[in-house]
Symmetry: C2
Subunit: 334 residues, 2 copies
Amino acid sequence: MKKIMNDPQNIVPEMVAGLVQAYPQYVERLPETEALVRHDKASMENKVGVISGGGSGHEPTHAGFVGAGMLSAAVAGQVFTSPTPDQIYAAIKAADHGKGVFMVIKNYSGDVMNFDMAKDMADLDDIQVKSIVVDDDIAVENSTYTQGRRGVAGTIFMHKIIGAAADQGASLDELEALAKKVLPNIKTIAVALSGATVPEVGKPGFDLADDEIEYGVGIHGEPGYRKEKLQPSKALVTELLGRLKTEFKYQAGDHFAVLINGMGATPLMEQYVFTHDVLDQLAAEKITVDFTKVGNYMTSLDMAGISLTLFKLVDDAWLKGLQYPVDTIAWTQK
Amino acid sequence: MKKIMNDPQNIVPEMVAGLVQAYPQYVERLPETEALVRHDKASMENKVGVISGGGSGHEPTHAGFVGAGMLSAAVAGQVFTSPTPDQIYAAIKAADHGKGVFMVIKNYSGDVMNFDMAKDMADLDDIQVKSIVVDDDIAVENSTYTQGRRGVAGTIFMHKIIGAAADQGASLDELEALAKKVLPNIKTIAVALSGATVPEVGKPGFDLADDEIEYGVGIHGEPGYRKEKLQPSKALVTELLGRLKTEFKYQAGDHFAVLINGMGATPLMEQYVFTHDVLDQLAAEKITVDFTKVGNYMTSLDMAGISLTLFKLVDDAWLKGLQYPVDTIAWTQK
């Protein structure tokens, strides 16, 4: 293992410290936690707070999306480990301005349990909390750390849509209804070229041969559905889009947003080649793509690989939500 | 070599095509070139155009910085290879709106020669062109592809400062004077953990042992100044900051901007740990850091490593230039 770090046991607190030192205009650290709250508290007044969080190792998720128009706070757990309920509760309290707090949770057993416990703590203090559990990964049903499907890169579309609606004054009930309507329209699938190395472990979570890839790997290295020899980008796209088409049963004339997400060690050059093939194949099927984002958004430490998220834009307001102005470290596209 | 691509010979055109398909609201491709011009041409009226470019493999540099407040156009060469004079000239013509064009060039022999030839072509058409050659890398004098010092990540600070001034109506002569004043105040140094693999070559440009790093490596894998065993982040920072301090002779009370740049395969987690150590050590020396950016900005394909750029803020206007609003794919911080 070759990593730029000091003590593997202390890598998350040092990361969080560096992030806050670099971007004090965006985030503040809640005392004695790895929870970060939006710096411009004035912009949260009279609005529902929106929080998210989960294990570290997926940067810029989640702290990179804290800011006006997106998240009010984010909680970082240890690497690939859910944050504790008390830290989540600290984020809830910091994000509540009398209108309640909406939580966006990725579907992992640890996250679901700990966010639920934090909600119970909030109930005792009469803070209203509602939530959505995102399960966008279509690769496999159930998995190493999950009942049902996993929550992966598509979660960021949920952050964006819910963050925009909250900023425009939606109530807690309205956010819950919106999230439930959006959820089945976001689906993701990934391919990995290499495993991720957790600092405290020191070796990759899984191994692939020099010419081998694995379809459907999760963001913690959970198993996918097939290993095979590396294929050209066009063939990877055909495989992944084929799976998404089966799920969506999409048809000519449908409108989608697309997120092409690097897993950490995959250069933008490769991501753009893949993007070219995705958008060409969707155009050939007469799918209209109204919004595209390409880059490292939901990473898996130093994993090489890429994920493809489609978001079916059933409601015109959703595209406006994606385009709604934000001011965060990591999401900034008009 | 395991890369997401189709034909290595065609990787740059496919990348450029994907970028334009993904972000038509930012960039348009000039016909039969790998040159990209700003989509919102209205915002360039009555202003000096600002262009940059160079070999591909450093994404998001340069196309990611095309947009309001930064670059008017960018030219992508083949991987690690200068763009041709005719393509640079196409970018000059597209960026000129009667006030001339300023070129930001990284100091590599091929780039300097080809941008100069493009300027000669512009002279024949009575388009006024001036330029700056950025040579911020303090690691070595002269190098594999360079007379003098190399141009690396600090070039992005130059894009930002010149782009902001041009957007505010600075003349070509004023931009040249500003660039000359800024240039000696931007300095960079890097450390590599692994080499970069050029798609057409198929193996890394240099090898490091499993526990070895190299200080001072360039963004095309040019040799640095010392190999040694991997050190903790704090020790890396001490080494790199020590070299920068020797160059700047900085003193307590000096003001700086800091760019911490991932080389392509280095996770943000590691970049933030390194950031924490950089900002702590600068604080201990009573240096004031007014502006920090962390992320993959000037990459080297799939190289693992990090660079540290310091920009001495001698003039108050420079911080305002860094903070000046932009609207680009890759630089968006307030």
